[in-house]
């Protein structure tokens, strides 16, 4: 019954690819941010490579207290965590069957990540008032990773059978891409609205 196994494995493979590629991109962004932070620390006048204009400006973001919530630069979290995401993706692609506890652990990780990103998006837009391109790359990676890991776990019964069979999960699983698109557009709309005065001058 290779056909049947292939079709049940297909979404898992897609998730594996997402985690691998997303993890690598996220790692690259976090790594660059860390390097920029070091450069900024050693030279106060340093202009980070992503300080493009008053709005797209990571220099002003990296100097804020929000940039080191836990007492050390945030990107260090990404440097440590994204490789785990990438490795998990590689394992899935290699055909590994992961235990329930592993998926649960991953779920906790991506949930914390998504919560943190949500907070950072809010801070960036409404408290700091600038956007940092590399950070936005991280946002763009964490959101789909969280979304698809959660969806996978919900469907696989990690949160219990009742959740797996519930109507919302079925509908969301069917319209997963639309849901993700709407979340992305919502963030884009908030960015557009908040910095409208600036985008307007570019038109």
């Amino acid at each position: 019954m290779t056909l049947a196994t292939n079709s049940t494995r297909a979404p898992e493979r897609a998730l594996g690819l997402l985690l691998l590629i997303g993890g690598l991109i996220g790692f690259a962004a976090a790594f660059v941010l860390t390097v920029e932070k070091v450069a900024l620390l050693t030279d106060a006048g340093y202009a980070p490579s992503c300080s493009l204009n008053p709005v797209l400006n990571c220099g002003s973001i990296m100097r804020t207290s929000q940039a080191e919530v836990f007492g050390f630069p945030n990107p260090l979290i990404g440097v440590a965590a994204f490789p785990v995401v990438a490795a998990t993706g590689a394992m899935i692609l290699a055909g590994a069957l992961l235990a329930r506890w592993y998926w649960l652990g991953l779920q906790i990780g991506v949930t914390l990540g998504a919560g943190f990103i949500g907070w950072l998006i809010f801070q960036s837009l409404y408290r700091i008032g600038a956007l940092c391109p590399y950070c936005m790359v991280v946002w763009a990676v964490v959101l789909p990773v969280f979304w698809y890991v959660t969806l996978r776990n919900a469907q696989a019964g990690i949160f219990g059978r009742r959740v797996a069979g519930s109507a919302p999960v079925r509908i969301l699983a069917e319209w997963h891409l639309l849901a993700l698109t709407l979340v992305f557009l919502a963030v884009l709309a908030l960015i557009t609205e908040q910095f409208w005065y600036y985008w307007r001058t570019l038109a």
């Binding site: 006048g45 008053p54 008032g129 600038a130 997963h176 891409l177 557009l185 307007r200």
Partner: protein, 219 residues
């Protein structure tokens, strides 16, 4: 194509289309009228006819322009340095202040309007001092501080009827906004940004500042 891919693309496409229309409709006002190249001492966007001079015009033709935000901590940090420089070179160098309230600072635009309103009664410098000296007490608050700024205006002895009218006027808001647009056109990325004789100038220390002004004056 799968229906959900179709719908997602459609939604995304619509979003982009609405955005483009909004940009075209609301953009294109202001700017463009004077399309001289950015930079250079003669660039009218650097210093306008009615740009605010801190103190008096200097005797030489050396001009230091600062794009500033009254709620920005780095600007407050630069404030005493600029004051020192004014004390030392103010008789020769013209210090020009341009408003550049950053959107992340909740009250920065209000503060700029308050200062501009004071400037209209000849008290730019007093209000400018007031803002930076008190910044620690009002900066970073996420509530409108119109009342506090009004109190500042009262304290420096402005005609309050005139102040209220100016503060709320479109003219003052536009005046602040034009400074912002000039700054953006000149490539200002944040505050404070200095231009010394038309050249972007990034002092990393008080010494830097001192030397640059000394050289500019000596020329």
């Amino acid at each position: 194509m799968k229906p959900q891919l179709k719908v997602s693309l459609l939604v995304a496409g619509l979003f982009v289309a609405v955005l483009a229309v909004l940009l075209v409709v609301t953009g294109r006002d202001g700017g463009g009228a004077d399309a001289d190249a950015p930079g250079g001492a003669t660039d009218s966007r650097l210093v306008r006819e009615d740009s605010r001079i801190i103190g008096e015009r200097g005797s030489s033709d050396v001009v230091l322009v600062e794009f500033l935000d009254f709620e920005c901590e780095a600007c407050r940090a630069a404030f005493p340095v600029v004051e020192d420089m004014r004390e030392k070179y103010g008789d020769r160098v013209t210090f020009v202040a341009r408003y550049f309230p950053l959107p992340g600072h909740f009250n920065a635009e209000r503060a700029a309007r308050a200062v501009e309103s004071a400037a209209r009664q000849g008290k730019f410098e007093e209000m400018y001092h007031k803002m930076y000296k008190t910044q620690a007490s009002w900066g970073e608050q996420q509530v409108p501080l119109d009342d506090l700024f009004r109190q500042f205006a009262e304290e420096i002895g402005l005609d309050m009827g005139q102040y209220d009218a100016d503060y709320a006027s479109e003219e003052v808001a536009d005046r602040v906004q034009r400074d912002v647009e000039d700054g953006i056109a000149l490539g200002v990325q944040g505050t404070p940004t200095f231009f010394l004789d038309g050249e972007r100038f990034e002092p990393t220390s008080v010494d830097d500042f001192d030397k640059a002004l000394e050289e500019a004056v000596a020329e």
